[in-house]
Structure formats: C-alpha cells, structure tokens
C-alpha cells in the first residue's frame, strides 16, 4: 500500500542486526522497514478472533526503544525444530504448520525450540498460536503500511 521513501541508514546504537532480512518461503521480513505500528497484530487478531486483541495475535512485534523492532512470526524455516522436538508427534508440515489438537498436551517444547518466536501459548484459552496464513489471505502482508512483511516469491512448499 504505502512505501516509505526515506533513506534509512544503519544505526550505531542498534546491535541486534542478526535477523535483518530472513528470506523464507512464507514471508520475507524486513526489520529495517518496520515502524512498530502493530497494525499486523491487530488485523491478525481481528481476522482470527473477531476482536482487537494484539496479545492474541500470531505475529508479534517486540520493541526495544530506541532499537529496531523485532518481528516474531512463523517463517516456515527449513530446520523446523518445532516438529522435531514435539514428543507426541502432534506437529506436522503441509505447506504450513499443522497441529493435531488431540495429541497436544501443551508441554510447550515447540514454543521453546522455535528460534523465531513463531509459536506461543495463548494464556486465557490454553492453546497454541502460530501463523496459518489466514487461509492464504495473508492479512498482515496486505495491511502492513511499511512493507516490512511481504510474501516471499516461490511460496508453495
């Protein structure tokens, strides 16, 4: 929708440049462009829960003022540690992460294993939250005003 035109230089007080541009199959995340507005969190919770509850969003922005924002979401990484560590075999992969509710006993091994913060526990209803691509609608991508999260090309594994 909107693109920022400004020249964005590297800041000397931000040391956390580790995950600057993670190219994966679901999203391409560009931390440098993120303004931290949390529109993605709102639209995510609105699309899934029908109410505005950023704390129940599947994508989360972690801010550490004045440093850069961190974008925590399932990026469909190649390693898929979550599936590997699950002791009950509840998680599987089929173009996106799939959870067998009956096998899951909320041991949270996957939450701890994910290096991207892509899976989290929703505290009130006791269930796992992770990106389901809004059934292919990718609402966060559509609404992000800064183009910090875009769909990666070649999606479809």
């Amino acid at each position: 929708m909107i693109r920022h035109h400004g020249r964005i230089a590297c800041s000397s007080f931000d040391l956390s440049l580790v995950r600057l541009s993670v190219t994966i199959l679901m999203f391409k995340i560009n931390r440098k462009s993120c303004t931290g507005c949390r529109i993605c969190e709102m639209i995510c919770s609105f699309a899934h829960e029908g109410e505005i509850a950023p704390k129940r969003s599947r994508i989360r922005i972690e801010s550490d003022w004045p440093g850069m924002e961190g974008i925590d979401v399932c990026v469909a990484c190649r390693a898929k540690k979550c599936i590997a560590v699950c002791p009950h075999g509840a998680l599987s992969w089929g173009r996106l992460l799939l959870l067998d509710q009956e096998k899951c006993d909320l041991c949270l091994a996957c939450v701890e294993a994910c290096p991207f913060g892509g899976i989290r526990l929703e505290p009130t209803n006791k269930r796992l939250l992770f990106c389901d691509t809004c059934r292919g609608e990718y609402q966060c991508v559509k609404w992000c005003p800064a183009n910090a999260i875009v769909r990666a090309e070649g999606n479809g594994r």
Binding site: G6, S33, G36, R38, E51, I52, P54, K55, A146
Partner: protein, 607 residues
C-alpha cells in the same frame, strides 16, 4: 461486558493516593453518548469532581487519564490517550494528548479512564494489570529520568508494561513539566508537575482484554477506505512520512510566520540549515505510534560535530522551531540534544524553548543580568540553550526562575511586552500576524496558546485546493469555531489529528458508529454537537475558575508591533472584531459566557 459496551471497556478506575484506596466504577452510558470519550469524559469528570479555585499543585487537584471508543482499534492513528487536569501554568483547563502505546494498553487493561486524586506519603507508582490496580511504594525511583524508570519497571514487572512517567522536572514542580511515555509526551501545560505534586512517579499498565467492535464488517470497510485515503494523500502518504512533522518548515518560513528571536522577526536566515531537506540526513529510521500507517516519528542521531552521539525520537517541527529559530540557533545537533534533554528531564519542549528565547531577549535588553544567569545566554548561542535546559531540569541557579514559565518571569522582570504567552501557556511555532485564523485560535483556545484546538494554517497557507485568505478576518470566527468542534470530537474519540487530515469527518462518524453502535453517533450533526458540548463544558469550567474576556487575547507584540519582513510585513492582528464575531457564532454573550439558550440546546442547563 457484551455488546452493550462495544468500543468501550465500561469501567473507570478511581484511585485515591492519600487513602491508598482503589475503586472501580461503571461507565455511565449517558455520559458515553453525550461526551464520546477521551477529552469529553475528562471534561465531565473534572467539572463535576474538582472543587472551584483548587490549587493545581495541591492534593485536591485531579489527574485524569482517559481513552476513547476508537483508542486501540484498527482505526488509523488510534494510539492516543488524553490526560486532563487543572493546569499549574494557567490555572485553567488542561488536556494534553500523547501517542505511542500507553493509551491502547490502558484500554486493553479494561479502563476507559483513570482518575487520580490526593497525594501519596512516599513516592509511589500506580500499577494497572488486567482490570486490577495496585499502588506500589517505590522510593528508589524518585530522582530518576523517565528512560531509566521505564527500563527498571519493565525489568521488574515484565516487558509488556507501558509507562507514563515523570522526570526530575515534574518532581520539582517545574510549571511546564510533561509526562513522558517512551520519549513521547503528554507535553503542554504542566501535567507532569501535577503528577509530581501527588508523589506519583509513574503509571504502569498492561492489559489483555480484547476490544470489541459493534459492526465488524462496516468497521473494516471504513478502515480499508481510511487506509487508502491516507496512502494517496499528499500529506499523510507523502511529506509527513518522509520528513516527519518538519515537512512544513520551509513553507512556514517562506510564508513569514516561522517566528525568530522570540517573535521579533518572521523570516529565519538559518532556515536552510535546519529545514526538511537537511534534517533527513539525521534520521536513522521511521517509527509509528500504535495503529498508525503514517509513521511520522523518526529516530534521529547526530553523527558528527560537537553533539556527536546524541539521539532522540524526533525532532518535531515545533521543537526545531523552539530550540532553533526562537533562539536563532541553526545547529541541528544542538536541537536534537535539546529535545533529548527535554524528554530526559520531563519538560515540555515548546515551552522550554520559549522560556529560553524569552530569557535571551531579556538579557539582550538588560532586564536580566548575565551575571545572574551564570553563563552566556545570547541569541544564537547553542551551548547556552543546553546549559539553560540542564539548569531548568535540575532546578539549580537561574533554572528556578526559568522553570516558572514566561508569564511569571515577565511579571518579575518587568518584561510584559516581550512575554509571548496566552493565559500563561507559551506560544507554538506560528506567528499569528501572518495568519488571522491562528490568531483567533490562540486567543480562544481552552488551554492557552495552542495550535491543536484549531489549525487554520492548513487551509490558509498550506492548501492549494481550499485556500482561504490568511490576512482577511472574514469568516474566521465560523472557521475556528467549527474546527474547534471537529478537533474536540477527534480528541474525544481519541484519534490522531495527522491521520484525520487525510480523512473526512464522514469517516470519523462512521468509525464511531460502527465501533460503539450508539445511536446518536449515526448522525454527523449529533457527533459535531458532542464536540460543541465538550467545548462549552470546558468553557464553563474555565469561567468557574475566573476566566474573563480580558484573557481571551494575544500578547501585546502581536497587537501593536508590525512584522518587519516577509509576506506579512507591516501587519498586526485585528483581534477584537474577530473575537466579537466568534462569541456571537458560539452563542456566547459579549463577555464570553455561554447564553442560556445555548446551554439548553446542548443539554448543559443544570450546571
């Protein structure tokens, strides 16, 4: 909660710091439909609960944080919240609003408003966590700056907490101290001093409550429309994104209303060094408040020179003026450092720059001796600005005098002719001699000289489509009155003015109705009437505190000394005819008191 309170959380928190008691009150549904929220709620509560003639810095004063039905929703620019109190600087109504993340978090904690009264015995913080509140004694935080306080409290309580805290200036009662929330501020009018007088160092909030919307589909459609309007708007989708609020600086200077040397001149020679083209070199990255597609906030850093290494979130147009042209300083490094110091000490950057510029003029005219100041304080001296800010923040030496604001300083020094303030609040960055509309807006604004109650500059000097004559006084009364109503609705609902510039009033009305489902909000006229009701109630509050027509005026410099250069050369403000007309269109008598018919029309009759 249910659908009855779609858009609202339905609860108001009442905290008495003297007694240490916390009460929860239900939101009155009549108040919701008559006053919308935010500024409106605060006006109603302050009018009903504050005793007449209360000393602003006494325990009797109230400090009210409030959110509106659109706060925290997907409506663009929904990150704002309001703080209202009786101002220690003016002695009248004060409401200040602040972006960032504090307001939405407060709403998600389950409250439409927090009323704080009394005074704690020892320094405390107010912790609000998911419908529950607690007063924590934290004497170790007293004397710290807001950044450290934020870091410490987040370390202790959890990373999700959002804070509004005061700096040392607020603790020591500087009359223009602000409340800081992550380098954004409830800036003007001295709300920080009120918070300090209550021994309240910070309010920390965290919430997980969802915000429900009455009509999801209509709400989402309006959101999509609004986002697209902003994206294609030359202001919201263009200049403001790239340059921040500074994008008007060159235009203001060329229009001759970028005041220089404490409003003695209207054209700034150093403008080419501080204008939007140069300031972008200092920007490190863009930042947005909660729910904002514009992202006008910038993180700036000084990369070389005397002030290497200092950074701030900003600088905003007003501060580039107040530490720049106002003090005739064109060193951007000093401006960025000054803005950081204002956040560090918890000062209002507009008033602080005004005070320093005023002191510089007093030194120039030998009304203030440099030996009393203790360091060189001359126009153009960037080090003087930084030293003065440290003195004000720490309340040392000359800082004690400067910390009382322009109005009180002028009385003491006998420099009333050079004191640029209305009702005790210092001037923002537009010279009213070049714009009749803003002159009337300053004179009639409820909290003193303020550019956010009505901003005719937009149509007088910036617009190409709807441009109106900036020098004419014709129809300015109607214009300012209508815009004040409109802005009162925005401050009550609470949205950001910057996103509103790209939208139309129709969008706001649709947002309000789709979010809350309250029947009167379906009609634009009714919503506008809510704005008028808020403005009239605030007027009644001010009249009760002793306001008279004599104070709805401008500093003598604007009325007597013609501007020497620029497009507005030779002009002074013709205020009296505009003021008469303004009172007339408002339905007030010649002394500015709302007539009985007006009060009946607005349902304010039993006041």
């Amino acid at each position: 909660m249910g659908d009855k309170w779609a858009g609202y959380m339905g609860r108001i928190l009442d905290v008495d710091l003297t007694e240490g008691t916390i009460r929860l009150e239900d939101l009155d549904s009549e108040m919701a439909s008559a006053y919308v929220g935010g500024k409106g709620f605060a006006a109603r509560m302050l009018y009903d609960q504050l005793a007449k003639g209360c000393d602003p810095l006494s325990p009797g004063n109230l400090l009210i944080f409030s959110t509106g039905p659109l706060t925290g929703t997907l409506a663009p620019g929904s990150g704002r919240s309001v703080v209202a109190t009786k101002s220690p600087a003016t002695g009248y109504w004060l409401d200040a609003n602040c972006g960032g993340f504090f307001g939405p978090e407060l709403k998600m904690a389950g409250f439409d408003g927090v009323v704080i009264r009394g005074k704690a015995r020892v320094p405390v913080i107010l912790k609000i966590d998911d419908k529950e509140a607690e007063i924590l004694e934290t004497p170790d935080l007293w004397g710290l700056d807001p950044f450290t306080v934020e870091k410490k409290i987040r370390g202790q309580l959890g990373k999700e907490y959002r804070l509004a805290s005061i700096g040392i200036a607020g603790e020591k009662g500087v009359l223009f101290a602000s409340i800081i929330s992550e380098a954004r501020a409830f800036g003007r009018g001295g709300a920080g001093a009120v918070m300090g007088s209550k021994n309240l160092k910070a309010v920390a909030v965290r919430g997980r409550q969802p915000i429900t919307v009455f009509e999801s589909k209509r709400f989402m459609r309006t959101c999509q429309e609004a986002f697209n309007e902003i994206a294609i708007h030359p202001d919201g989708g263009g200049g403001r994104q790239k340059y921040g609020t500074n994008f008007i600086l060159s235009c203001m200077n060329q229009s001759g209303i970028h005041p220089v040397r404490n409003f003695q001149k209207g054209l700034f020679e150093g403008a080419s060094q501080v204008n939007e083209d140069n300031i972008t070199a200092y920007y490190v990255r863009h930042r947005a408040c909660y729910g904002c597609p514009i992202g006008c906030s910038k993180i700036s850093e000084v990369k070389g020179g005397k002030y290497k290494g200092s950074f701030t979130e900003g600088p905003e147009y007003e501060n580039v003026w107040s530490f720049g042209a106002q003090c005739e300083n064109s060193d951007l490094g000093a401006i960025i450092t000054a803005e950081y110091l204002c956040d560090f000490y918890g000062l209002d950057a507009i008033s602080a720059g005004n005070v320093i510029g005023f002191a510089m003029e007093c030194v120039e005219r030998s009304l203030l001796k440099e030996s009393d100041v203790g360091f060189p304080l001359r126009f153009g001296d960037d080090e003087g600005i930084i030293k003065a800010l440290h003195r004000i923040g720490k309340q040392e030496g000359i800082g004690k005098l400067l910390g009382t604001g322009v109005k009180r300083m002028a009385k003491l020094l006998g420099a009333e002719g050079a004191a640029m303030h209305v009702k005790g609040l210092e001037m923002p960055a537009y010279d009213p001699r070049g714009s009749s509309g803003i002159a009337l807006a300053y004179a009639t604004s409820d909290r003193g000289a303020c550019h956010l109650r009505s901003w005719p500059i937009g149509d007088e000097l910036l617009s190409t489509e709807n441009r109106i004559d900036p020098f004419s006084t014709e129809f300015k009364a109607e214009y300012v009155k209508n815009q004040q109503e409109l802005f009162a609705v925005i401050d009550s609902s609470v949205l950001c003015l910057f996103t509103f510039f790209a939208l139309s009033f129709r969008h706001i009305v649709r947002f309000l109705h789709a979010t809350t489902g309250i029947e009167p909000f379906a009609s634009s006229m009714e919503v506008l009437k809510c704005g008028e009701r808020v403005n009239n109630l605030v007027r009644l509050f001010n009249l009760r505190e002793g306001l008279s027509r004599a104070e709805d005026t401008l500093p003598p410099r604007f009325l007597k000394e013609p501007l020497k250069e620029g497009p507005a050369r030779g002009r002074v403000v013709e205020l009296a005819p505009m003021l008469d007309e303004y009172y007339f269109v408002r339905g007030w008598d010649e002394d500015g008191v709302p007539k009985q018919e007006k009060l009946e029309e607005l349902g304010l009759i039993d006041e």
